[in-house]
Amino acid sequence: MMSATTEIAPGYWRPPSRLAAPAAMAFPAVGFLVVFLVIPALTLLSYSVLVQSPTGEIGLPLTLNNFQRLLGSPTYRGILFNTVFIAGCSTVFAILLAYPLAMTVAYGRPLLSRLTMVAVVAPLVVSVIVRSYGWQLLLGNGPAGVVNFVLSSVGLPPFVKILNSKWAVVVASVHVYLPLLVLPLAASLGRIPPNLIEAARMLGAPSWRAFFGITLPLSYPGLLAGATVVFTLTAGSFITPQMLGGTDGMVLGVLLEQQVNTVYDWPMSAAIATLMVAIALTVHFITHRVMNARPTR
């Protein structure tokens, strides 16, 4: 987006003196990321098409063997499926839960809105490891799991047995990443002119129609941005599935850590990393296309 004060398109030649200052200002950050992010990441990803010798050196010839090993094995395909499945479920649940919270933040009575804002932001500044530990305690399969304890103390059977499964990862991932969806969604909702909804209601639309006809379509930018973050962060996560998923909830991140720290197989690790990056980039690319295809205002 161009600022209003710029009359000349970016990229147009300017006298060097006007470019020198901004270039010098951007240089440290750009240089830092090129050296410590771009080069290392490209190096790592390039290992995915190289071969590791028995002595541990990585080099030519070029090969797709690592990807064949990764995608050819039913176990690894299952882990890939788990990763996408858990990220997809978490995103869907997060969307369903985010609307009421974001609507309360945007339109609720001041006290409740403020309280919701605090309850949404507070978990965001607590380490994922602490939150996953909290879910371990809550979802414990035995009678000492907090949810089961509460169920049996109100006379219900302690039926919650999802710890060490995909579903525990989904529940905790929704909790961990929900704030990152609620915040952009609330910002989007706050920008919807209230008189649009009032007009719909005055013309006789029931509240559900006003929601699906006006609120939902106008909140798509925040929804898309937030849902992308939830999906990609869940698909790239390590600690939550490691602490809550067990073998049933095994995902690419956990597999990657095992391949590096116990198998020392760099080309295979690089192939897994490439797959994870590909998933993240694909989702971001799709969102970008969808957002740009929509008229913004």
Binding site: A23, F32, L37, G236
Partner: protein, 264 residues
């Protein structure tokens, strides 16, 4: 007067969701005060002995200091290199401004686990063996985009005619920056700093690869303890981390305003 949305239904759902949001934190705090030897629900009484035990542990205090200084260092580094970059992009005169912006925000898109692994591999290959510096670099990479975003957002809102007026009246560029620009973007920068601090303080996937037994940030130490210790001291350590986060939220609310800080 009719509210513009189905108020009572949304309120009821919100209250259930608020319980969902705070439950994992409340449970951790509840178990940190139980006198029983195992971290099991329900708490059987009240004691602060686990906090005393944790605070008396040399290794815990060391890890806490590692995390706090790492977070402060990463915040300062990303502030020092991020603010000028955000200003350069905001001026929109450099060829490839969009590309630079994409690069600077890319650590948010790349899975952090991969960023950490790539860095670990790179640093090992380059013979960079100073764990402290390696961790600082890794943490600055992930705090930089948050800093960039908040500073950019503040820059978009300020009144540029004030800067123009100051330079027309003969103020040198650095004076304009510190006397006119900085006071206007200060709340945004402060929010960015507090956020960057917590991102680093809570980080697991970067430290997972770059830490060692001597320099062990708190989340890594906590993770190690979880597989060897089963008494409520784990809950007490977690509660202390929650307390750090709560302090930052209170600071954000008091100094900047939570809504403003979060762009809502």
């Amino acid at each position: 007067m009719k509210t513009e949305y189905n108020g009572r239904f949304i309120t009821a759902v919100t209250i259930v969701l608020l319980i969902f949001m705070v439950a994992p934190l409340v449970v951790v705090v509840a178990l940190s005060i139980t006198p029983s030897k195992l971290a099991m629900f329900p708490p059987t009484g009240f004691t602060l002995e686990w906090y005393a035990k944790v605070l008396a542990t040399e290794k815990f205090r060391h890890s806490f200091m590692v995390s706090a200084s790492l977070a402060a260092g990463a915040t300062i580094l990303s502030l020092v290199i991020g603010t000028p970059a955000a200003m350069a992009i905001n001026k929109n005169v450099l060829p490839g401004s969009r590309l630079i912006e994409t690069l600077l925000l890319s650590p948010m898109i790349l899975p952090i686990l991969i960023t950490g692994l790539a860095l670990f591999q790179f640093m090992a290959a380059q013979g960079m063996r100073s764990t402290g510096w390696n961790l600082l670099i890794g943490h600055a990479i992930i705090t930089l985009p948050y800093m960039m975003r908040t500073v950019t957002a503040s820059l978009k809102q300020i009144d540029h005619s004030l800067e123009e007026a100051a330079s027309t009246l003969g103020a040198p560029p650095l004076t304009v920056f510190f006397k006119v620009t900085v006071p206007q973007i200060a709340p945004g920068i402060l929010a960015g700093c507090l956020f960057a601090f917590m991102i680093s303080f809570d980080d697991f996937p970067i430290s997972l690869w770059l830490a060692d037994a001597r320099i062990e940030p708190l989340p890594i130490y906590l993770h190690h303890q979880m597989s060897t210790v089963f008494d409520p001291s784990i809950a007490a350590m977690s509660a202390l981390m929650i307390a750090t986060g709560i302090i930052v939220v209170i600071l954000l609310e008091k100094l900047v305003g939570l809504r403003k800080a979060m762009g809502v």
